[in-house]
Subunit: 329 residues, 4 copies
């Protein structure tokens, strides 16, 4: 449940305000020299800091406690920890009486009988994605010439990202965005019928990222509005290159060697500075309240590297399954 | 790979022009009296026949060869077979030289080294969904008061479905559509952090349906264009009822008891009657050709029951996991 | 639950007196020409017929209904059916009131709420192993020079097998036996730490064979009585050849390239012709009774090929995992 | 691979001489108050210290870094770490040239291309079982009245354990032993046909314990030498109580409510103080050598609690599957 993958398997653990969050990678090929530069770069991209992101700062120094020996992977499970230092749980204690709209507070309470760690969203926090990003950086090293690039293509409905962000700042409200991810140099044949189409497995992983509400491949929802003769991609050579790429590089759930293209909808963060109304569990009355804590005005800003990481993890698994990566590199 | 589910597990097999396609359900609770009426109704809905669907007719009589005794499930795996009678493989032999654009022909050939059964798309055919529909009918019986309803809300970009369909007929081309699925009376708490959010698992299953190119929950892609204060759903009572339902009934990947709402984009079928151009593998030249065989002008017409079936299967699995359904009914 | 394997996955279904039993193999590499001769030979070895085995005769003609095209595997799931023709359920109806000692009758009834198919043991019957043997014959083809040979080394405590069998015939009682399996030319490195040691996975599969009550590797239980210096196997060359083979070809759960050796204890079949005593559920009294039906005096006689088949299936999975077998052969 | 279990899932990580070893439990029901007393007791039993066990001493203080809040489980993954303090890797550096007979040194090197952490056996070390024992203590709390008790019944072939141990001390050699485990008050119906018989799953887990070379249930190998009429257990009442318990509480792979009984063979530890001969990889010559490092003369002494822990973990999983334990306790 908290693990994903068949051969390159990641498992996350930890809570937003616990001592530590982390990830275990099981099945990583042996002999990989960890690229600390790439790892730092990935973790840095995910961090808050720029305009529109949370003022909560964490060092995010990865601590490898297993699976690496002499800086290389050993073939044994790799566990990476990240300390939580900059927590202010007090903000959340006050909030406890009112389950925050859009958050998991209410459902977590019901599902886990009130025993959930509610501080900062607990195990449901986007803090967990730090481990995903670290694992993604390692996965990326294994992908060799495959090139994954995710970009924000829309914020608050605007293609001009600055303009979208300014809307949030002006309105003192959170905004969402759309991320587009493009993968070049991907081999033909990744994806497994019937249930493990590359779209199925990617969507599974992508919808695990907090705030994702939609995933589409190639023309996506727009394809539903085209004629077949317009949407089909003619094959123009024996490598399977197509004239157009409306399918986004996937036919029958299998990569066709053309660029893999998909988009992800990120909703506006639920923790808006705006005053809201919701039920107070203790008084059983509808109350006005404002969320305290340090939050992002636009979580989408930090999402591209998470999307890239998740994609690298999924592709790594498919490449191992298809034996394009060996058990020792 | 051809199996899906953790506790209520379905596994499909068969090819479009093979002798038989089928499904095995492992983990179905014992003691369920198979509702043959419901089963027929489901299978009937999936069949071609109405305007805009394939003239290929199959009886689709389910043959239970295991797991049912005295008309009730036994707790052992249930295997259901459907004979393929109305196959015309000759149509496909002629097509063999030109991998059909939009189809799996090219990727299947590369992935399976040329050993794939290419007749009618082989194992990649939508024919496989007949088993899904049968398993879905059984799953539906286990859901009790949970009510799943999928509807076409758009064909060829038109909300008036007749108008959309007429476009296809007029243009002699295939068209796509959008399906919306709504699930009422769903309990709070389905879905598992981190990777098995209800969105993740549903999307995984839904993207396995041939021709699906997008999945979104609640406001979906539109959520990315709203402010957080507009997109949040205020909780208005202790049952978790929300004032609005922009989240589509899911918070933090867990059902919140409100209506579960999602939409699926179905691309226009690749087998359009229109003349197309693509590579001929044998001559290594780009050729004009028309696809023979009997095909749907609008596959979306047959999709709602498949979406309902897939949803029932996924929910059944979550309900078993959450112990809302017992091992014996 | 009824499926086993990670990459080469088998799933069984069917009941002793149902219409059909079968198996689905998911993940079999594409391009394998099915060796019908080997398949028949395997199925023939499993059949009753010789002295000491059941007079129930089944043709055991395998029907491939998917996954094979032009006699070769396609990469899609292979489903193989076997009809049950020679059933005499009447024998079992009479027996119904008294759950047979040593059989699953009692536990199946409790576990599945009385909905189990009880005829001939239903889904718990050794009849299910016919599918295992067929899948094993296919797996064996993939193993190339790896040679698996299982032999009975003891019947009824006697090394002279005829003598052991004669004991059964003289006593009109069932007897058990011990099977030893030896695998030559096995590569170094099969098995995965920590939980998927080659011993763990083989034992898992072997204990699924009805009547197996013990599994040991190399010196097995006898190793517990030796000194370490006597039980250790000195490595004598760079290929890892050891002077002795007390470990049975496994160190740390991983094959070491020496012969893999293990033994399986098969209990005497529970369906003895001897009069027995047990509870009559209907009268709630202890009753004397004799089991009707056609049964083996020594099930161990038919077990070697089942052990070989199960071993081939497990090794095939490990070889795919270790990328010693490709996805296309 | 390093994870085990379907609903109550444990995953181990770490190396003998790494910084830390640990375990993650995914799927533990929420609301369980961790019994630190029981946990300490379990960990203490596993530790070296008494006559015949390793002089390496570790504090084995469990550090819970996730999944526990206000001393209770939250439903999120529980990660428990144990620091390795008392490591003396120098001993192993010297040994590196000669792969130790009976150890994983040789196979780990071949399997992981020489990148394995070889210090103290690395990931193959019995040090990993500390996590298993901690998880087992938690699992045990969930089992309520089910009572698991493992005992050494034989050391070095002697039923008098002191005598067996004295043999080891006198001979300055390692010795093995046999553990018997008995589980009382187990419900009827645990175990899943066909492949997840209770024997299959238990054996899978038990063979993952280092040094285990055999597993048998009930009469085990001795059953192969009995007549069916002697080996069958007559049912004497409606609860399924049997007159004898030759089956060890399992019929058809399912628990029958009688005492579950099984035995495990533990080989003598490979690291004997005795001088041995083996290949020196560097010189490519057979050499005499003695193993340095701090080792157990009789690892079986520390095994009972590991067997109990593994059994508790397996039963917990089956109980969740059978819905005898809820998701919240």
């Amino acid at each position: 449940m908290n693990a994903f993958g068949r051969l390159f398997k990641v498992a996350v653990f930890g809570e937003s305000h616990g001592e530590t969050v982390g990830i275990t990678i099981d099945g990583c090929p042996a002999g990989l020299l960890i690229d600390n530069h790439l790892l730092s770069e990935y973790l840095e991209k995910r961090k808050g800091g720029q305009r529109g992101t949370t003022p909560r700062k964490e060092d995010d120094i990865p601590r490898f406690i297993s699976g690496v020996f002499n800086e290389k992977t050993t073939g044994a499970p790799i566990t990476i920890l990240f300390d939580n230092k900059n927590t202010r749980s007090k903000d959340y204690e006050k909030q406890r009486a009112i389950p925050r709209p859009g958050h998991a507070d209410f459902v977590a309470n019901k599902k886990f009988g009130g025993f959930e760690d509610y501080r900062g969203g607990g195990h449901f926090s986007a803090r967990l994605t730090v481990g995903i990003v670290a694992a993604g950086a390692i996965a990326k090293q294994l992908l060799q010439k495959i090139d994954i690039k995710a970009n924000i293509i829309e914020i608050a409905g605007e293609n001009d990202l600055e303009k979208g962000l300014q809307k949030a700042i002006d309105q003192k409200d959170t905004v969402g965005g759309i991320i587009e991810c493009r993968v070049k140099n991907i081999p033909i044949g990744l994806g497994e019928p019937f249930f493990d189409s590359v779209e199925s497995v990617l969507a599974h992983a992508l919808f695990a990222i907090p705030a994702v509400k939609g995933v589409e491949f190639g023309n996506g929802f727009q394809a539903a509005r085209l004629f077949g003769s317009d949407n089909n991609d003619s094959i123009i050579n024996e490598n399977g290159t197509t004239k157009s790429n409306n399918a986004g590089g996937v036919n029958g759930g299998i990569t066709n060697g053309n660029e893999l293209v998909f988009r992800i909808a990120i909703k506006p963060a639920s923790s808006t500075p705006k005053e809201q109304e919701s039920l107070n569990w203790e008084s059983n009355e509808i109350e006005k309240f404002s969320i305290k804590g340090r939050h992002d005005l636009c979580v989408a800003l930090r999402a591209p590297v998470i999307v890239e990481a998740m994609t690298a993890i999924v592709l790594c698994d498919f490449l191992l399954l298809e034996q394009k990566i060996g058990r020792v590199v």
